[in-house]
Protein backbone atom coordinates (compact mmCIF):
# COMPACT_ATOMS: atom_id res chain seq x y z
CA UNK A 1 0.00 0.00 0.00
CA UNK A 2 2.89 2.31 0.81
CA UNK A 3 4.11 1.67 -2.71
CA UNK A 4 0.76 2.79 -4.06
CA UNK A 5 1.07 6.09 -2.17
CA UNK A 6 4.59 6.55 -3.46
CA UNK A 7 3.42 5.74 -6.97
CA UNK A 8 0.73 8.41 -6.69
CA UNK A 9 3.32 10.91 -5.53
CA UNK A 10 5.62 9.75 -8.30
CA UNK A 11 2.91 10.41 -10.83
CA UNK A 12 2.59 13.91 -9.47
CA UNK A 13 6.32 14.42 -9.80
CA UNK A 14 6.21 13.28 -13.42
CA UNK A 15 3.43 15.76 -14.12
CA UNK A 16 5.36 18.60 -12.55
CA UNK A 17 8.54 17.83 -14.41
CA UNK A 18 6.65 17.67 -17.64
CA UNK A 19 4.51 20.71 -16.85
CA UNK A 20 6.50 23.31 -18.78
CA UNK A 21 6.10 21.36 -22.00
CA UNK A 22 2.87 19.37 -21.89
CA UNK A 23 2.70 16.60 -24.45
CA UNK A 24 0.90 17.97 -27.50
CA UNK A 25 -1.13 15.85 -29.77
CA UNK A 26 -0.98 16.53 -33.49
CA UNK A 27 -4.48 17.97 -33.25
CA UNK A 28 -3.61 20.39 -30.46
CA UNK A 29 -0.49 21.58 -32.29
CA UNK A 30 -2.58 22.31 -35.38
CA UNK A 31 -5.15 24.23 -33.32
CA UNK A 32 -2.39 26.40 -31.90
CA UNK A 33 -0.76 27.34 -35.20
CA UNK A 34 -1.61 28.72 -38.62
CA UNK A 35 0.35 29.36 -41.78
CA UNK A 36 0.22 32.66 -43.69
CA UNK A 37 1.37 33.17 -47.26
CA UNK A 38 3.78 36.02 -46.61
CA UNK A 39 7.39 36.57 -45.62
CA UNK A 40 6.74 39.98 -44.10
CA UNK A 41 7.59 39.30 -40.46
CA UNK A 42 7.03 42.86 -39.32
CA UNK A 43 3.57 42.95 -40.84
CA UNK A 44 2.57 39.71 -39.11
CA UNK A 45 4.03 40.73 -35.72
CA UNK A 46 2.31 44.14 -35.86
CA UNK A 47 -0.95 42.39 -36.76
CA UNK A 48 -0.47 40.09 -33.74
CA UNK A 49 -0.03 43.15 -31.49
CA UNK A 50 -3.16 44.79 -32.92
CA UNK A 51 -5.16 41.55 -32.62
CA UNK A 52 -4.20 40.99 -28.99
CA UNK A 53 -5.15 44.59 -28.18
CA UNK A 54 -8.49 44.22 -29.97
CA UNK A 55 -9.21 41.11 -27.92
CA UNK A 56 -8.58 42.99 -24.68
CA UNK A 57 -4.99 41.97 -23.96
CA UNK A 58 -2.30 44.34 -22.78
CA UNK A 59 0.75 43.73 -24.91
CA UNK A 60 3.73 43.72 -22.57
CA UNK A 61 6.50 42.27 -24.71
CA UNK A 62 7.42 42.41 -28.38
CA UNK A 63 10.74 41.19 -29.72
CA UNK A 64 11.42 41.54 -33.43
CA UNK A 65 14.63 39.50 -33.33
CA UNK A 66 12.99 36.60 -31.49
CA UNK A 67 9.81 37.00 -33.55
CA UNK A 68 7.60 36.90 -30.47
CA UNK A 69 4.85 38.93 -28.83
CA UNK A 70 3.21 38.44 -25.43
CA UNK A 71 0.16 39.94 -23.83
CA UNK A 72 -1.85 39.55 -20.63
CA UNK A 73 -5.51 39.89 -19.88
CA UNK A 74 -6.43 40.88 -16.37
CA UNK A 75 -9.99 40.60 -15.19
CA UNK A 76 -9.91 39.02 -11.72
CA UNK A 77 -7.77 36.38 -13.43
CA UNK A 78 -4.56 36.28 -15.43
CA UNK A 79 -4.62 34.98 -18.99
CA UNK A 80 -1.25 35.12 -20.71
CA UNK A 81 -0.91 34.80 -24.45
CA UNK A 82 2.42 34.23 -26.20
CA UNK A 83 2.76 34.23 -29.98
CA UNK A 84 5.83 33.25 -31.96
CA UNK A 85 6.39 33.50 -35.69
CA UNK A 86 8.48 30.96 -37.57
CA UNK A 87 9.61 30.95 -41.19
CA UNK A 88 8.04 28.09 -43.14
CA UNK A 89 9.74 27.46 -46.44
CA UNK A 90 10.51 30.34 -48.78
CA UNK A 91 7.07 31.92 -48.92
CA UNK A 92 5.19 31.29 -45.68
CA UNK A 93 5.26 32.18 -42.01
CA UNK A 94 3.83 30.01 -39.27
CA UNK A 95 2.19 31.76 -36.33
CA UNK A 96 2.11 29.70 -33.15
CA UNK A 97 0.05 30.77 -30.14
CA UNK A 98 0.14 29.53 -26.58
CA UNK A 99 -2.24 30.62 -23.84
CA UNK A 100 -1.91 30.05 -20.11
CA UNK A 101 -4.43 30.64 -17.38
CA UNK A 102 -2.12 31.49 -14.47
CA UNK A 103 0.29 28.58 -14.97
CA UNK A 104 -2.17 26.18 -16.58
CA UNK A 105 -1.87 25.73 -20.37
CA UNK A 106 -5.11 26.40 -22.23
CA UNK A 107 -5.97 23.31 -24.27
CA UNK A 108 -9.46 24.27 -25.44
CA UNK A 109 -9.59 25.04 -29.19
CA UNK A 110 -12.12 27.94 -29.11
CA UNK A 111 -9.86 30.78 -27.91
CA UNK A 112 -7.20 29.84 -30.47
CA UNK A 113 -9.77 29.72 -33.27
CA UNK A 114 -11.05 33.14 -32.22
CA UNK A 115 -7.53 34.56 -32.10
CA UNK A 116 -6.58 33.27 -35.56
CA UNK A 117 -9.85 34.46 -37.10
CA UNK A 118 -9.15 37.97 -35.73
CA UNK A 119 -5.49 37.78 -36.82
CA UNK A 120 -6.51 36.82 -40.36
CA UNK A 121 -8.75 39.90 -40.53
CA UNK A 122 -5.96 42.12 -39.16
CA UNK A 123 -3.37 40.86 -41.59
CA UNK A 124 -5.87 40.54 -44.45
CA UNK A 125 -4.51 37.16 -45.43
CA UNK A 126 -6.10 33.76 -45.30
CA UNK A 127 -4.76 31.54 -42.52
CA UNK A 128 -4.27 27.89 -43.34
CA UNK A 129 -3.48 24.97 -41.03
CA UNK A 130 0.29 24.86 -40.65
CA UNK A 131 2.42 21.93 -41.76
Amino acid sequence: MALQVLAAAGGCDYGLRDFSQPPESQKLASIRSRSFETTDREKILRAVIATLQDLGFIVDRADYDRLSVSGTKLDQYLLRWTVTVLPQGASHLTVRAQARYDVTPVLEPEPYQKFFAALSRAVALEARPSG
Binding site: V5, A8, G11, G56
Partner: protein, 181 residues
Protein backbone atom coordinates in the same frame (compact mmCIF):
# COMPACT_ATOMS: atom_id res chain seq x y z
CA UNK B 1 -8.31 -1.90 7.32
CA UNK B 2 -7.81 1.59 8.71
CA UNK B 3 -4.22 1.53 7.44
CA UNK B 4 -5.42 0.72 3.93
CA UNK B 5 -8.07 3.41 4.12
CA UNK B 6 -5.48 5.96 5.26
CA UNK B 7 -3.10 5.01 2.45
CA UNK B 8 -5.93 5.26 -0.09
CA UNK B 9 -6.92 8.65 1.27
CA UNK B 10 -3.29 9.79 1.01
CA UNK B 11 -3.06 8.60 -2.60
CA UNK B 12 -6.28 10.39 -3.56
CA UNK B 13 -5.12 13.57 -1.81
CA UNK B 14 -1.74 13.49 -3.55
CA UNK B 15 -3.29 12.89 -6.94
CA UNK B 16 -5.90 15.62 -6.53
CA UNK B 17 -3.10 18.05 -5.64
CA UNK B 18 -1.56 17.27 -9.03
CA UNK B 19 -4.63 18.28 -10.98
CA UNK B 20 -4.38 21.73 -12.57
CA UNK B 21 -7.03 24.25 -11.47
CA UNK B 22 -10.12 24.35 -13.65
CA UNK B 23 -10.19 27.30 -16.03
CA UNK B 24 -13.42 29.33 -15.79
CA UNK B 25 -15.24 29.33 -19.12
CA UNK B 26 -15.63 33.11 -19.15
CA UNK B 27 -11.84 33.54 -19.05
CA UNK B 28 -11.56 31.82 -22.43
CA UNK B 29 -14.27 33.78 -24.21
CA UNK B 30 -12.34 36.23 -26.34
CA UNK B 31 -14.42 39.16 -27.55
CA UNK B 32 -13.56 42.32 -29.42
CA UNK B 33 -12.63 45.24 -27.17
CA UNK B 34 -15.63 47.45 -26.43
CA UNK B 35 -15.73 50.69 -28.48
CA UNK B 36 -15.80 52.97 -25.42
CA UNK B 37 -12.58 51.51 -24.07
CA UNK B 38 -11.00 51.65 -27.53
CA UNK B 39 -11.89 55.34 -27.78
CA UNK B 40 -10.45 56.04 -24.35
CA UNK B 41 -7.16 54.27 -25.08
CA UNK B 42 -6.52 55.38 -28.69
CA UNK B 43 -5.55 58.49 -30.63
CA UNK B 44 -4.56 59.21 -34.22
CA UNK B 45 -1.54 61.52 -34.57
CA UNK B 46 -0.98 63.68 -37.65
CA UNK B 47 2.50 62.38 -38.39
CA UNK B 48 4.15 59.65 -40.42
CA UNK B 49 7.23 59.70 -38.20
CA UNK B 50 6.53 56.75 -35.94
CA UNK B 51 10.06 56.69 -34.51
CA UNK B 52 9.83 60.31 -33.39
CA UNK B 53 6.48 59.56 -31.77
CA UNK B 54 8.02 56.60 -29.94
CA UNK B 55 10.86 58.79 -28.67
CA UNK B 56 8.34 61.36 -27.46
CA UNK B 57 6.36 58.54 -25.80
CA UNK B 58 9.46 57.42 -23.87
CA UNK B 59 10.07 60.98 -22.71
CA UNK B 60 6.45 61.47 -21.58
CA UNK B 61 6.38 58.18 -19.68
CA UNK B 62 9.62 59.11 -17.92
CA UNK B 63 8.17 62.53 -17.05
CA UNK B 64 5.18 60.75 -15.53
CA UNK B 65 7.52 58.71 -13.32
CA UNK B 66 7.61 55.47 -15.30
CA UNK B 67 10.70 53.37 -15.86
CA UNK B 68 10.95 52.02 -19.41
CA UNK B 69 11.01 48.21 -19.15
CA UNK B 70 10.84 47.29 -22.80
CA UNK B 71 11.02 49.06 -26.12
CA UNK B 72 10.71 47.74 -29.66
CA UNK B 73 11.15 50.44 -32.26
CA UNK B 74 10.68 47.92 -35.09
CA UNK B 75 7.27 46.83 -33.79
CA UNK B 76 6.17 50.09 -32.16
CA UNK B 77 5.87 49.06 -28.53
CA UNK B 78 7.00 50.67 -25.27
CA UNK B 79 6.26 49.14 -21.87
CA UNK B 80 6.92 51.01 -18.64
CA UNK B 81 6.18 50.58 -14.95
CA UNK B 82 5.92 52.73 -11.86
CA UNK B 83 5.94 51.54 -8.25
CA UNK B 84 3.47 53.08 -5.88
CA UNK B 85 3.62 53.19 -2.11
CA UNK B 86 1.25 50.74 -0.40
CA UNK B 87 -1.61 52.52 1.27
CA UNK B 88 -3.34 49.53 2.82
CA UNK B 89 -2.96 50.59 6.47
CA UNK B 90 -6.17 48.72 7.39
CA UNK B 91 -4.79 45.50 5.97
CA UNK B 92 -1.48 45.96 7.79
CA UNK B 93 -3.29 46.63 11.10
CA UNK B 94 -5.55 43.59 10.69
CA UNK B 95 -2.58 41.39 9.81
CA UNK B 96 -0.62 42.62 12.86
CA UNK B 97 -3.61 42.15 15.19
CA UNK B 98 -4.22 38.59 13.94
CA UNK B 99 -0.53 37.79 14.38
CA UNK B 100 -0.52 39.04 18.02
CA UNK B 101 -3.76 37.28 19.00
CA UNK B 102 -2.88 34.02 17.29
CA UNK B 103 0.58 34.09 18.89
CA UNK B 104 -1.01 34.53 22.33
CA UNK B 105 -3.17 31.49 21.59
CA UNK B 106 -0.03 29.56 20.58
CA UNK B 107 -1.36 29.13 17.01
CA UNK B 108 0.80 31.54 15.01
CA UNK B 109 -1.16 32.77 11.98
CA UNK B 110 -0.49 35.50 9.47
CA UNK B 111 -2.86 37.22 7.08
CA UNK B 112 -1.23 38.62 3.94
CA UNK B 113 -1.94 42.24 3.06
CA UNK B 114 -1.24 44.42 0.04
CA UNK B 115 2.47 45.11 -0.05
CA UNK B 116 3.52 46.34 -3.49
CA UNK B 117 1.55 48.28 -6.09
CA UNK B 118 2.79 48.59 -9.63
CA UNK B 119 1.24 50.60 -12.44
CA UNK B 120 2.18 49.25 -15.87
CA UNK B 121 1.85 51.27 -19.04
CA UNK B 122 1.84 49.79 -22.53
CA UNK B 123 2.00 52.02 -25.60
CA UNK B 124 1.67 50.51 -29.07
CA UNK B 125 1.99 52.54 -32.25
CA UNK B 126 0.80 51.59 -35.69
CA UNK B 127 0.67 53.04 -39.16
CA UNK B 128 -2.65 54.70 -39.79
CA UNK B 129 -4.82 54.50 -42.87
CA UNK B 130 -3.02 55.45 -46.11
CA UNK B 131 0.21 55.77 -44.11
CA UNK B 132 -0.44 59.46 -43.47
CA UNK B 133 -0.80 59.25 -39.73
CA UNK B 134 0.23 57.12 -36.76
CA UNK B 135 -2.11 55.47 -34.29
CA UNK B 136 -1.26 55.21 -30.60
CA UNK B 137 -2.90 52.85 -28.15
CA UNK B 138 -2.16 53.47 -24.47
CA UNK B 139 -3.19 51.06 -21.70
CA UNK B 140 -2.68 51.27 -17.96
CA UNK B 141 -2.98 48.44 -15.52
CA UNK B 142 -2.61 48.15 -11.76
CA UNK B 143 -1.08 45.07 -10.18
CA UNK B 144 -0.98 44.62 -6.39
CA UNK B 145 1.07 41.92 -4.70
CA UNK B 146 0.49 40.77 -1.10
CA UNK B 147 3.15 40.02 1.50
CA UNK B 148 3.30 36.41 0.29
CA UNK B 149 4.28 37.54 -3.19
CA UNK B 150 0.95 36.60 -4.75
CA UNK B 151 -1.03 38.87 -7.05
CA UNK B 152 -3.81 40.18 -4.79
CA UNK B 153 -5.43 42.43 -7.36
CA UNK B 154 -5.04 43.21 -11.04
CA UNK B 155 -7.17 45.51 -13.10
CA UNK B 156 -7.23 47.90 -16.01
CA UNK B 157 -7.17 51.55 -15.00
CA UNK B 158 -9.91 53.42 -16.82
CA UNK B 159 -9.89 56.88 -15.30
CA UNK B 160 -10.38 59.12 -18.41
CA UNK B 161 -8.27 61.96 -16.96
CA UNK B 162 -5.17 59.71 -16.87
CA UNK B 163 -5.53 58.93 -20.58
CA UNK B 164 -6.31 62.52 -21.57
CA UNK B 165 -3.28 63.73 -19.60
CA UNK B 166 -0.98 61.25 -21.33
CA UNK B 167 -2.23 62.03 -24.85
CA UNK B 168 -2.11 65.80 -24.25
CA UNK B 169 1.48 65.54 -23.05
CA UNK B 170 2.42 63.30 -25.99
CA UNK B 171 0.90 65.68 -28.55
CA UNK B 172 2.81 68.53 -26.97
CA UNK B 173 6.12 66.60 -26.78
CA UNK B 174 5.83 65.42 -30.39
CA UNK B 175 4.47 68.79 -31.60
CA UNK B 176 1.69 67.12 -33.57
CA UNK B 177 -2.07 67.14 -33.40
CA UNK B 178 -3.93 64.18 -31.96
CA UNK B 179 -7.48 63.13 -32.78
CA UNK B 180 -9.90 60.75 -31.18
CA UNK B 181 -11.09 57.83 -33.29
Amino acid sequence: MSGKFFALLMAVTLLSACLPPEIPKEALVLTQENPARLKLQSRRFETKDERALLSATSAVLKDLGFTIDQKSTELGLIVGSKKEEPYNLGGMATSAAVAVISSALSVPTTIPYSKERLIRASVATGRGENGNNTTVRFTLQLVVWDTEGKVAKSELLEEPAMYRDFFDKLAKAASVEAHEY
